[in-house]
Amino acid sequence: MSTVSLNQYNPTKGSRILSVGAFRPNRLVGNEELAGPIDSSDEWIQQRTGIVTRQRAEADISLYDMALGAGKQAIDRAGIKASDLDAIVVSTVTFPYPTGSAAALIAGELDITVPAYDISAACAGYCYGVAQADALVRSGMADKVLVIGAEKLSDFVDPTDRSISFLLGDGAGAVVLGAADEPGISKSNWGSKGQEWDMIRMTRSNLDMRDIIEEVERTGDATAITEPGSQGGIWPTLRQEGPSVFRWAVWEMAKVAKQTLADAGVEPEDLAAFIPHQANMRIIDEFAKQLKLPEHVAIGRDIADAGNTSAASIPMAMHRLLEERPELSGGLALQIGFGAGLVYGAQVVRLP
């Protein structure tokens, strides 16, 4: 038997966010544009969601374009070159190809050959990505990791859906994580509740869609696509049980957030910012109330004119907070994502 001791990576003490980038599509979609098909109004939508407009991408702007734009900005702002990266993690649920990954495509465009992969953790995806990047860096497997949260949710909305479609926007946010002498990312508090897999879901699977297409091709009868119960046509779109999601997102996630602070050894008074997933302003408001945050804590409220952008929402909100209030740089932020799965993830991070 060989007695050779296998070489290992040399762990480093900490990691931190070095920079944040964002890509915001420039088509503003107001409530009036969406109110008709859901028999609603600007007032109804604002009152229930706090959303005034949402940013959506034109047809010729892809998820890949947005992810690449945010990623490049994060690389530039970190003062590094793409060739300095050791891994790319993209969180998305709207890249239209199950395989190959958006991350590999981005690595190719950046002309680097690092490990690159996508993760599917919906609105918790960015926090999942940060958890992984933190582990990669602290284990010594990587010195710098690009984490991107990107979504083109407007490709998966049904204009007649009153549960979630009118909340959704498009965009991308990205951070570069790098090794640091002092920890700049706390323990990640992440998990799942698969018992509620259906609470936020697609109307059908790709295989269901294939079956409908085959049925239509075989019979020449296209009513299967449009008949009642087809939920807006053949194309899979998103749905949610809004009130149940609200309950979970506020009261269950408030417990996760409090535990995250406790695990990090941080009191609410120590925070400079609270950056929750931008799901709905009512969730953000009630969440902040449950956490009893001191007044000085800045709260990410990007949703009012960006909409809910799933995995992109936290880095986009962080980017905006730092643009509007640069004095927050260097302070501690509690970030928490939660969504379809159900899945959640949270950390306290030092802002770049």
Partner: protein
């Protein structure tokens, strides 16, 4: 089992805190949606606060059956 009058009074306080409605307006025959103009999100907040106040469990699937104040008072009385 909690006294239904006490439950009504406690529920009225919770509704007042969430919506600003006067407690006297929260009467047994009122429908949460049609009469008190409480939307599904506010209703969930009221439910969670009622759970805490009366130490009961009100599952999500039960919430849609609580159409009137009477429904809520009866459910809480039976569950507590």
């Amino acid at each position: 089992m909690a006294n239904k009058e006490d439950i009504l009074a406690g529920l009225a306080e919770i509704v007042n805190e969430e919506t600003g409605l006067e407690t006297e307006e929260v009467q047994l025959d009122k429908n949460f949606t049609d009469d008190l103009d409480i939307d599904s999100i506010s209703m969930m907040t009221i439910v969670v606060n009622a759970e805490e106040k009366f130490d009961v469990k009100i599952p999500d699937e039960e919430v849609k059956n609580l159409k009137t104040v009477q429904d809520a008072v009866d459910f809480i009385a039976n569950a507590s």
